[in-house]
Amino acid sequence: SVRPAPRGPARARLLLLVCCPTFRSSFARLFGGEAAEQWRFAGGSTEPPAPPQEAEAEADEGPLLAALGWFALLRVEGRAEASKGPRLSVAAAASLPKGAPLLACGSPFGAFCPDIFLNSLSRGVLSNAAGPLLLTDARCLPGTEGAGVFSADGELVALVAAPLCWRAREWVGLSLLCAADALLRAAAHALGRLGSQADARLLAALLPPDGGDPAAAPTEHSAAWVAAVLVECGSVWGSGVALAPRLVLTCRHVAPREAKRVLVRPATPKSSPVWGKVVFATQDTSPYDVAVVKLEENLKGIPFPVLASHFHEGEDVQVVGFGAFGQTCGPSVTSGILSAVVEVNDAPVMLQTTCAVHGGSSGGPLFTGSGELLGIVTSNTRDNSTGATYPHLNFSIPITALEPALDQYRRTGDLQPLQELDRPGEQVRVVWRLQRVPAEPPRSKL
């Protein structure tokens, strides 16, 4: 077993405090400026976590938040021991593609009850990255600041910088990470400046080789999420998915029918933005919140997704959307399972997932693990009585409900089948109003 013997608390001394300058600059770029007031980060204290609304209000007060992006290097006194397990190795964070599986290992509530909470595990994916600033959808709690986040093959990828984020009063469901390689590089440099050459060499020895292995570079160009696009329509923006070189599917509330022109920005920086027009959007009365955009030019370098024909509750899925950051650092990938498939007359009419979905993700694609397109996201959940938003319960339109009409349009340019989406049955409307479908029509007692 690699499990070490139980240990009581050991004294330690501070060697240095260090922050990664690139992390700080990425943080300022993503969360600073006009967006600064919208973002709140919460976590760290020895107190139990407050409910989201209260925690948001208190988010700026914790000492851990004042030091967001700063990490402490310590040396345990008199308790060093020979390693009995595998040597810690550090991943080159830049080599990980979005969607890569991650495992966070931390202690919720910090030193509170470590006998119960020490090294709790949480699984997720690499949701987004801006240099050494990483985001994961692995669920982390206050007290897990500083926790290690590992790749599936056991390499240390990052440390948790802030476990909880809110944007515009909505819990985002992502945790903020600092890449371990950049952080250790900064710490080794600092140790060298402070004259601790031996420790600097020790840290440097943990690092992956400079430059990395070209073969290990992210293979994002072939990933399914590359079909996700940012859709800008005046001051409104949202997500969409490219189904063909000139065909983008999104939501009506992102690209309404009265919109004359929309700008579609592909997820890969190498692809250029393309103008398009809304050729079809469902009426406001339709429960299917769908719009179809025809582009003026071909999208290039995008692998168009295979459309799913079946849905399996419980299967691993991923949502891709520009919800968290718009075009600032590309789409975010969040993972979960297909939690429900709601059918009317044996036909799927609504999909639910446990992926974290935020404002701005509307129109974004929902993929299976193998990259098949299951549907497009339209909404997450809000409790109007409390104002709480639940990003992990969200709703998507099954692609099977759209595919015949889209196929007809692609082949013939005929919009008539799409217009049928304005006239779904009453049962479909009831489902999307989140009303229970009665098992039997109520009978009159008269």
Binding site: V2, R3, P4, P6, R7, A10, R11, A12, L14, L16, L17, V18, C19, A28, G44, T46, G62, P63, L64, L65, A66, A67, W70, F71, L73, L74, V76, E77, R79, A80, A82, S83, K84, G85, P86, L103, C105, G106, F109, G110, F112, P114, D115, I116, L118, N119, T144, E145, G146, A147, G148, F150, D153, E155, L156, A186, L194, L202, L203, L206
Partner: protein
């Protein structure tokens, strides 16, 4: 989780730790803290631990202003913190019935 995650599980178990910071008790004054967070044991042999910097922020001689961007180099030496800072690290398997009891806090386990 399946065997696919075994390397990550082993690495997490080997490296995971929890760090707490408090001020030394002084006559007539309550000790500050504790503040605590998670951490990573980078090297067991050398006893090197990396954790969040926030738990030592209350002990900075210059206060949190020392951590603001542009306030100086992106690192601070040990002497940036007060002498009464006391740090402790705990690691290893602690879960289960044989584990040491921790102090009772405000968290509880309400029945759902």
């Amino acid at each position: 989780m399946g065997r696919r995650w075994d390397p990550a599980l082993a690495a997490g178990e080997q490296a995971g730790c929890v760090v707490s910071a408090r001020g030394a008790e002084r006559p007539g004054a309550e000790a500050e803290g504790p503040w605590s967070c998670s951490g990573v044991l980078l090297s067991r042999r050398a006893g090197l631990v990396l954790c969040h910097g926030g738990i030592v922020a209350p002990f900075l001689r210059m206060g949190a202003a020392a951590l603001q961007p542009g306030a100086g180099p992106p690192f601070l030496g040990a002497d940036s913190c007060r002498d009464d800072l006391r740090l402790h690290v705990q690691w290893g398997p602690g879960r289960g019935p044989g584990a040491q009891a921790g102090p009772r806090g405000a968290l509880c386990t309400p029945p759902c």
